[in-house]
Amino acid sequence: MKDPASPARGRPDRVGASGLILNEPLIFERSSPGRQAYSLSSSPDGLAELSEVLPPTLCREEIPGFPEVSEVDLVRHYTRLAGWNYSVDHGFYPLGSCTMKYNPKVNEDVAAMAGFARLHPYQEEEACQGALALLWELDLALREITGMDRMVLQPTAGAQGELTGMMLIRAHLTDQGNPRRKVLLPDSAHGTNPASSTLCGYEVVEIKSDERGLMNLRALETTMDDETAALMLTNPNTLGLFEEDIKAICQIVHDRGGFVYCDGANMNALMGIARMGDMGMDVVQLNLHKTFSTPHGGGGPGAGPVGVKKILEPYLPVPVIEKRGERYHFNYDIPHSIGKVRSFYGNFGILVRAYSYICSMGRDGLKRASQMAVLNANYLCARLKGRYYLTYDRTCMHECVLSDKHQQAHGVRTSDIAKRLMDYGFHPPTIYFPLIVKGAMMIEPTETESRETLDEFIEAMLAIADEAERAPGLIQSAPHFPKTSRLDEVKAAREPVLRWQEDSPP
């Protein structure tokens, strides 16, 4: 394998290559007094003087440091910045737990329709029946997919969904006389699970996963008590494994008056195949920006609708969408409601995209998506596990977790492999998560990737495994192709520079 850092800029036999990109300073460094990229319609005549409206003591003179650029400056600035990003539209983005599937373009068109994008949340119900209908239909579809009795679309993202779900549990338990103190989690849980539990006033108790990588039934039996409000479980879990004992798990928790919360971030494995509701779980949040293909936006926005069993319905945040005859309606009159977790009705623009996606996929398409997601993950796993260590060697669901155990002998670590993958033209997998696998590489291919793409990625991974043996330095010093070489995260943390200042060095 030839060194990709060598001037073989565009070697056509591999995805990653080196080519022309353009540097660009910060927008503040592009600023020049008097430039403008805006235009305001001229003000009407006969207006008051500003000082008659707002006394000067309330007003500022200027916004120090704010940029002044022309429209072309601005366009080039962001065009160049865009050129430094890797995205799903560029290529394979196998971030485990993130479900970076293709985001259909048509959903963007739909969300941009004036009847959705220019809609104000306080329009009277008669003036937004279309939007209410959409919320209602999405609610129905998600109920059907999860097997829950009711959805609430308000939460902004997965973590807020978790918090909302935990609040519902707490509200019910409180109503019953004791909110309880603890929440149980497996040690493989995503960080938002403990954080959400804390925010909801619970103490977190971690349960060590068993040798299968699954919930340890025995440990659960001994830990679950009547001061425990809930068990939070991800299913399939963050190792990509289905919690086979889920019914027994729910039984144990329910027997002691607790609830089972499902982190549904991994729904992409199960659509049309199995449902949280049928498993006995009481609450689930869905990450629409994962399973339902809304673009992740470089960090958001997403949406984290929550599905609940009947018992928790009385506590739902307001408003609750309802259909009466042919009219749709927001019900704010929920006496036991937990209140609201955010303003208005949720990330409507994201809900629109997710609904559009469900319409496009339909019954068979959703199921096929889960099937092919699982097929892809197992294919990757089968072809890579000879060279990369697989701690839990079982049929996986939509993702698999490998590690750097074999490579460590050569001084090559997971983070090095991740950086090296960039040179090969791929986004790295999620690394160092879940915490229970040392040096984890969590690979989630999703169903939108073709066999050819997987093969290209596999070849890159195998080539890197070879390099680790033959030329580890190449990996340790990676990446070689991107705009910057490895960035110093320690320096960033130790000497925080969190904003540009007029006197910042360039």
Binding site: L50, P121, P194, G298, G300, V341, M372, L498
Partner: protein, 463 residues
């Protein structure tokens, strides 16, 4: 299926590599007892054209700010979005990437967010801003939680001029971790009333929105002082970001935290989301800040670059002890705001803010002159104001809608204070640069025309 590439040949070849007889067998770990023994009860997939026409029909069944003359505000504003904002923020390189954990191939997102953080600092006069929270209300709640951590106190005082939904969210968020809220009313002029009784040694934070829910610009300096006198933090809540272009910077007034909503910065109203939770604070408080931060650093060759930093505050590192549970935030909305603010720039944002203030003032004056109409609050307003109307709210808004006008907003919905007389109502009107004077004149004319309301609409008025 156009989003799934697998041909039957692919499936067969892949199964062979795996050594599985069929796709079904890959799901063997799911016990039969929890399997869905049937197909999902959903329609079959639509073609793209069908999807567009189905969703298009739903969209058409909504009035909106382009179909109607539009005077709603109250935390969500109809501002003109320059074309470049849509074009640049919708670039798939930004929209289809994940959180920039892998910095070397995410420099575009990272630099944009770093610029956003800087812009927000400049705008608020604060030292440090995060990479976004969910939206204004939960950002305000996070500010309270942070103030509680910083002060070790548990009580939060909120002016009732703080957006009612924000107050509700603060309540919801604080309740479970020992937080308590208390509300203070407003004075005749529409500003927060005397606080002396409300603040004490248990107060973690005083929350004041300005311009407040009634559009009134608060006089923040003495309020900051009052909070600081009791050792409480002052949280300036902002729902109309454009006001920051004209009003004194919160940081200069001594605020400890600025929290609020950035929707006005080029983000479409979209029935309430996705929006942008603004959050900025003083340098000393960084370690207690919620949310992601981008910081500057260098690569191995000393070149400037950007990374996510101070992650030890965050859930993926600190887990149960994190400063917040937030993970996915509103990155693309922050990027939108960065484009918007850079487009408007130093001059433009101020000019825009002035235009809003003057346009709204003109409308307020014209309505004030209508017989029977009152402007109850005398304090200065930005681009919204309350009108006391001598008719029930639902009738007014229904009549206005018939005239092609959406708004004002019935404040009685949240404030029983405004519902005392069933024959009158308090409506909130918002006037931005999207409402040319001609449209305002039409509104005023329509309001004037309401005097005939009793007769033809007599039926409706009796319910």
């Amino acid at each position: 299926m156009r989003f799934i590439p697998h041909t039957e040949a692919d499936v067969a070849a892949m199964l062979a590599v795996i050594g599985a007889p069929d796709v079904e067998s890959l799901f063997a770990s799911i016990p039969a007892s929890v399997r869905l023994g049937r197909e999902l009860n959903l329609p079959q997939g639509f073609s793209e054209a069908e999807t567009l026409s189905h969703l298009g029909a739903l969209a058409k069944n909504n009035a909106h700010s382009a179909s109607h003359s539009f005077f709603l505000g109250a935390g969500v504003y109809s501002h003109y979005i320059p074309s470049v904002v849509n074009h640049l923020a919708s670039k798939p390189e930004f929209s289809t990437s994940y959180t920039p954990y892998q910095a070397e191939i995410s420099q575009g997102t990272l630099q944009a967010i770093y610029e956003y953080q800087t812009l927000l600092c400049q705008l608020t006069g604060m030292d440090v801003a995060n990479a976004s929270l969910y939206e204004g209300a939960s950002a305000t709640a996070e500010a309270c939680l942070m103030a509680m951590r910083l002060t070790g106190r548990h009580r939060v005082v909120m002016a009732k001029g703080l957006h009612p939904e924000y107050r509700q969210v603060v309540d919801t968020y604080l309740r479970h971790t020992g937080g308590e809220t208390m509300e203070v009313g407003w004075d005749e002029d529409g500003r927060v009333e005397d606080l002396s009784g409300a603040l004490n040694e248990e107060t973690a934070a005083l929350l004041v929105q300005s311009p407040n829910f009634f559009g009134v610009v608060e006089d923040l300096a003495p309020l900051v002082q009052a909070a600081h006198d009791k050792g409480a933090l002052f949280v300036h809540v902002v729902t109309e970001g454009i006001s920051l272009g004209l009003l004194k910077a919160s940081g200069d007034l001594g605020a400890d935290i600025v929290a609020g909503e950035g929707q006005s910065f080029g983000i479409p109203m979209s029935f309430g989301g996705p929006f942008l939770g603004l959050f900025a604070t003083r340098e000393a408080y960084v370690r207690q800040m919620p949310g992601r931060l981008v910081g500057q650093t260098v690569d191995t060759e000393g070149r400037r670059g950007y990374v996510l930093t101070a992650a030890t505050r965050e859930q993926h590192i600190r887990r149960a002890k994190a400063t917040s549970n937030i993970c996915t935030n509103e990155g693309l909305c922050a990027l939108r705001a960065a484009v918007y603010l850079s487009a408007l720039g130093r001059q433009g944002l101020r000019e825009l803010a002035v235009q809003n203030a003057l346009g709204a003032e003109r409308a307020k004056k014209l309505i004030q002159e209508l017989p029977g109409f009152e402007i109850p609050f005398s304090a200065p307003t930005f681009n919204e104001f309350v009108v006391k109307v001598p008719f029930p709210a639902a009738e007014v808004t229904a009549r206005l809608r018939q005239a092609g006008i959406l708004g004002g907003l019935d404040l009685g919905r949240w404030y029983p204070e405004f519902q005392k007389d069933p024959g009158t109502s308090h409506l909130l009107f918002c006037v931005t640069e999207e409402n040319p004077p001609e449209a305002v004149d039409v509104l005023v004319g329509a309001l004037r025309g309401l005097k005939s309301l009793r007769e033809p609409a007599a039926e409706g008025s009796t319910r």
